[in-house]
């Protein structure tokens, strides 16, 4: 821009973020090599952490930036799982490409869904997305080939004969079950890193600037030329596709699907919202912090059953009343640290 004073420049990165880039590449290398170093139990825990992180990052983009507070993301998790089952069982497609197909199908399915729910605003939108998810659940329970209302399992011929599994078996010298864990771990890692990069690059792009403007004030964004509805639609479809991808991976890994589990509002939306809010909504770091806290809570307290759930409920209330900005929001406010900076700052040259 010509009018800009020459003694200023626009900066996005921070000192912390530049160190993080180096650290991040190192950490990623360690994470990729991890199956050779840690036990199967640890890998299984990390699979859970990664897919919850991916779901949380998607919901964060949706609610934290586009202002679309959805309580119906389980629609896309469940649909992703069911498309994977349909592709592998009915069309004999290998499970690995079937995950990608599931993501694409769910993204396409989100477009007509958007036509319905985008007519609604605020609380109506939230309830509308939930009802749509219920419709998905009830419709898929009608497909007898996919197990109807009681659900079904993937046969061994599908789960144990996927692309790359033999290679992993020889590389690590492990049996099929362990090789499946490693394969799922890598895919989960790729999806988690993918959503993280997607969120980061998206927010640094001009679409991200539009999103941040919408988050701060819809009216103001509209008045400076942001096409709110189009930007929101775009985010809705992209996050739906990513969520579908995650759903397909989850149900390939579990190898058993049922409508009630696949479209569970508690597992795939409520916990995800809790993760984002604990960590800090509207920040990229928030879901990472949140998923770590959630994992630790579950690892140490889940044995307490109902009392664990009561504690989670109480935690949701306490966080929202006393620390609505979440843990990362607090850190940023207190110490000014930003690992994934997306704000544009004017700096003196």
């Amino acid at each position: 821009m010509k009018e800009q004073s020459p003694s200023y420049r626009l900066a996005v990165s921070t000192a912390a973020s530049r160190y993080l880039l180096i650290l991040g590449v190192l950490a990623l290398a360690v994470l990729v090599a991890l199956p050779a170093l840690v036990s199967r139990g640890a890998l299984q825990d990390l699979i859970f952490v990664f897919y919850m992180l991916a779901l949380a990052q998607c919901w964060n983009l949706l609610a934290g930036y586009a202002g679309l507070v959805s309580v119906g993301q389980q629609a896309f998790v469940g649909l992703g799982g069911y498309v994977l089952f349909a592709m592998t069982l009915l069309f004999n497609i290998d499970a690995m490409p079937a995950i990608l197909i599931a993501g694409a199908v769910v993204g396409l399915a989100a477009i007509p869904t958007a036509f319905v729910v985008f007519r609604l605003r605020g609380p109506y939108f939230a309830i509308g997305t939930w009802v749509v998810a219920e419709v998905f659940r009830l419709v898929l329970a009608q497909f007898k080939q996919l197990g109807g209302g009681t659900g079904m399992s993937l046969p061994v011929s599908v789960t144990n004969d996927t692309f790359g599994l033999e290679w992993i078996k020889t590389l690590f010298d492990v049996r099929t079950a362990a090789a499946r864990d490693i394969q799922t771990y890598w895919v989960a890692l790729a999806i988690a890193v993918g959503t993280l990069l997607l969120a980061y690059l998206l927010l640094r792009s001009r679409h991200g600037l539009a999103l941040a403007a919408i988050r701060d004030s819809e009216t103001a964004a509209e008045s400076v030329g942001v096409d709110n509805d189009r930007t929101k639609l775009w985010i809705y479809v992209v996050t739906a596709a990513m969520t579908g991808l995650v759903g397909a991976l989850i149900y390939l890994y579990k190898a058993r699907i049922s409508p009630d589990a696949a479209f569970s509002v508690l597992d795939w939306t409520a916990y995800v919202i809790l993760i984002v809010v604990i960590g800090g909504i509207g920040t990229i770091e928030g879901p990472i912090v949140g998923v770590i806290v959630f994992y630790l809570l579950q690892a140490y307290l889940a044995d307490f059953g109902t009392w664990y759930l009561i504690l989670l409920g109480a935690l949701a209330i306490v966080i929202m009343l006393f620390a609505p900005q979440g843990i990362w929001g607090f850190v940023t406010q207190r110490f000014g640290v930003e690992l994934f900076p997306t704000r544009r700052r004017l700096m003196r040259r």
Binding site: A63, V69, V71, V116, R119, L120, R121, G122, P123, Y124, A126, I127, G128, W130, V131, V132, E134, V135, L138, V139, A141, Q142, G149, V265, A270, I273, L274, V277, I281, T306, W307, L309, I310, L312, G313, A314, L315, A316, I317, I319, M320, L321, P324
Partner: protein
Amino acid sequence: MLIWLDTFIQGALLGGLYALFAAGLALIFGIMRLVNLAHGDLIVFSAFLVLALVHALGVNLVIAFLIAAPLMFIIGFALQHVLLNRTLGKDILPPLLVTFGLSIILQNGLQEVFSADSRRLDAGNIETSSIPLFSGLAIGVMPLMTFISAAAVILILNRIFYHTRLGRAFRATSDDPQCAQLMGIDNRRVFALAMGLAMVVTLVAAVYLGIRANFDPSIGPSRLIYAFEAVIIGGLGSFWGTLAGGIIIGVAQTIGAHVNPEWQILAGHLAFLAVLIARPRGLFPRAVD
């Protein structure tokens, strides 16, 4: 022909129950735009409260209801005053998350106290009696009583809303909370009174829920979804609209079930989405959302 008339009447009567679930929600959603995700669990909580009173004191349902009503009013008032008032504002996330937390606490707390077993409220032989209209068509006494109670609750809510001082405060805060405050209305107290009143309505719904079918601590969320559908179809702040919304859901469900028993719930949801595609603000919205 007769079978369709029967289906329609049964559906409308079922709609009465849904309208009862929804009436309390319509009051608080209409006045303070509070999305109360714990509403379904509060209905179940009230049903367990009545059950506990019947068992502990050995009284019948009517007495148990009369004892529970002031208790529920106080619980609602306190809940709003201590907790929910802090969550109100432009952002819908705080009420969503706080009431969701409340919902989990209620569900699991009830399960801890009463176990996950199915329970029922016993209303004697009135449960199975019916009134024959003409040959081949009869309506149950309980469904009819449910519907009449729903209409009565809505009539009373409407009277309060449009013909009392409290109702004027309700309407004022619903229309413009800032202005209402400038006119000397204490919004927080008005909201707490509304929640107390809504909890008494919830108790009425709970009694009919408990007589009609088995209930256990986990059924709250599905009642919540019917209630929300009825409120949204009816339009923000319209009580008669809520009754109409309940009837639309009820009739859609019975017609769906008539075609294929597995389509009952689905048909209700599809009717809701169809109404919203045509009228995104519901059929009879009173206030601006």
